[in-house]
């Protein structure tokens, strides 16, 4: 991805390969080719490319993937701090700040 890689060793992505049934859904939904399925078992090949979007966890029928998902958005995190909530971008509210 032409030099666009974010911080090393921070991602919360975890895969329990024992539970994996090799359905390939994680490789289909991941926008950064983080997973690779070999011999009907998934493994994480590019962990630092993960952006914690959570698509793999949501689409894994065996519940083998866990990630603390959210939006990697600084103004969303600031919103969360100011409101005392989880990080949230307020794009959905008219007049809200302009992230994503």
């Amino acid at each position: 991805m032409n030099g666009l890689i974010y911080l090393k060793d921070v991602v919360t992505l975890e895969l329990d390969a024992e539970k994996c049934n090799g359905c390939m859904m994680c490789t289909i939904v991941c926008p950064h080719e983080v997973f690779l399925v070999e011999d009907r078992k998934a493994r994480i090949q590019n962990k630092d490319l993960c952006m914690e979007c959570g698509a793999c966890e949501l689409n894994c029928p065996e519940d083998a993937i866990h990630v603390k998902s959210g939006v990697g958005c600084a103004s969303g995190i600031i919103n969360g701090i100011l409101r005392g909530t989880e990080p949230t971008c307020d794009c959905s509210e008219p007049g809200g700040s302009s992230c994503c």
Partner: protein, 375 residues
């Protein structure tokens, strides 16, 4: 029940058609709708469905430019519900999208020459990816729409095509459990839909991967330019006023001569963080956006120094470097929200050290600059 011949409609019947569509939609009815070009209608078991044009009018192009510049960006939506392109029947494919008008526009243009159904979910006028993150483009809304529109009667097959970036909100196996429909994830970019359909609904790894090329980064810059909103006027005005202070009292001449420099410096710092850094992103060293922003801020500061904009005293010079660095770094860090590859954990880690430093830099710089007025 399906694919009857479409008929051209006039402006008068368009109003009526909108009313029919409004009856169909579920959820928030208070959203202002921006009509998409409707060129006909089809009767289905679930009511009248509007046929959308697959070309963009000048109005659509102009709209897409305006929203990039934050004009009416929060009200750029389409009424949720079922739409058609061409003359679809019970065998036609169903493409799902959100009700952000630009999402619908990209999809209908990509479906040019095809007969297909477009299922527009109520994402409160937000694009698919952001809405999926909030789960408004999500399993519950998709199930609700499939059941409400009785999609199982409109098409005989049991497949729906969901954009891959919607997978953050949609659980394919839960959709199958709750509706019987199999979710097929389509490509990331609408422009690849034709190839995806031609290859028998198979997305290649390239179609599935999100990139962040220069042209995409440039498109997102204008939105960030307005990040500070009315502060963009207030803060430069305050600098103008403060610039007139000196040990002898107040000088309007000084306010004008120094004030212009101060305002140029501030905007240069802002732009180096929210325009220059995003544009040059992959070529600036370091992975942290805040560090990338500091580097570009430093270069901007050097240019301003060479142009003689950073003042005469050493204190003023240092103060400006601190302020420019802090502002540029903060604005660059803010671009993490627009980028396609930053994680929440990463941004949190970055901010923990960067945010206090940015505030300190800008704060000390401001105090130093005010003190330098009296020296």
């Amino acid at each position: 029940m399906h694919g009857k011949a479409t008929k051209k409609i006039t402006c008068d019947t368009r109003k009526e058609l909108h009313a029919v569509l409004n009856l169909q939609s579920v959820g928030n009815m208070d959203i202002r709708t921006t009509p998409t070009p409707i060129i006909g209608q089809i009767e289905t078991t679930s009511g009248t469905v509007a046929v959308l044009s697959t070309t963009w009018r000048w109005k659509d192009i102009w709209g897409s430019i305006k929203i990039r510049w934050s004009v009416g960006r929060m009200n750029y939506s389409v009424t949720p519900g079922l739409y058609a392109v061409g003359s679809p029947d019970q065998n036609s494919k169903v493409f799902v999208t959100g009700n952000y008008k630009l999402s619908v526009d990209h999809l209908r243009r990509a479906l040019s020459g095809m007969n297909a159904w477009i299922l527009v979910l109520n994402t409160k006028g937000i694009n698919v990816w952001c809405a999926a993150g909030k789960k408004t483009f999500g399993t519950d809304e998709l199930v609700r729409k499939i059941k409400f529109l009785d999609l199982a009667k409109i098409v005989t097959h049991r497949k729906i095509i969901v954009p891959q970036l919607g997978a953050t909100g949609v659980s394919a196996h839960k959709i199958k459990e709750q509706t019987g429909f199999t979710v097929i994830y389509g490509p990331v970019r609408a422009a690849d839909i034709k190839d995806f359909v031609d290859s028998g609904l198979k997305a290649t790894p390239v179609m599935r991967t999100i990139t962040f090329p220069l042209v995409e980064r440039l498109k997102l810059i204008p939105v960030d330019l307005f990040y500070a909103k009315y502060y963009l006027l207030i803060i430069p005005s305050l600098f103008f006023i403060i610039a007139g202070l000196n040990s002898k009292g107040y000088s309007v001449d000084l306010a004008i001569s120094n004030g212009v420099h101060a305002v140029v410096n501030l905007f240069a710092a802002y732009l180096s963080g929210c325009a220059l850094t995003p544009a040059l992103l992959p070529w600036i060293p370091f992975r942290r956006f805040s560090l990338k922003g500091i580097i570009i801020g430093l270069l901007t500061g050097i240019l301003l120094f060479l142009a003689g904009f950073l003042g005469s005293s050493f204190l003023e010079l240092i103060s400006w470097f601190l302020m420019i660095g802090g502002i540029s770094s903060f604005m660059a860090m803010n671009f993490t929200g627009s980028s396609t590859f930053t994680s929440l954990s990463g941004v949190q880690k970055e901010m923990k050290t960067a945010l206090p430093l940015q505030i300190t830099f800008a704060g000390i710089g401001l105090i130093g600059w005010i003190i330098s007025r009296f020296m």
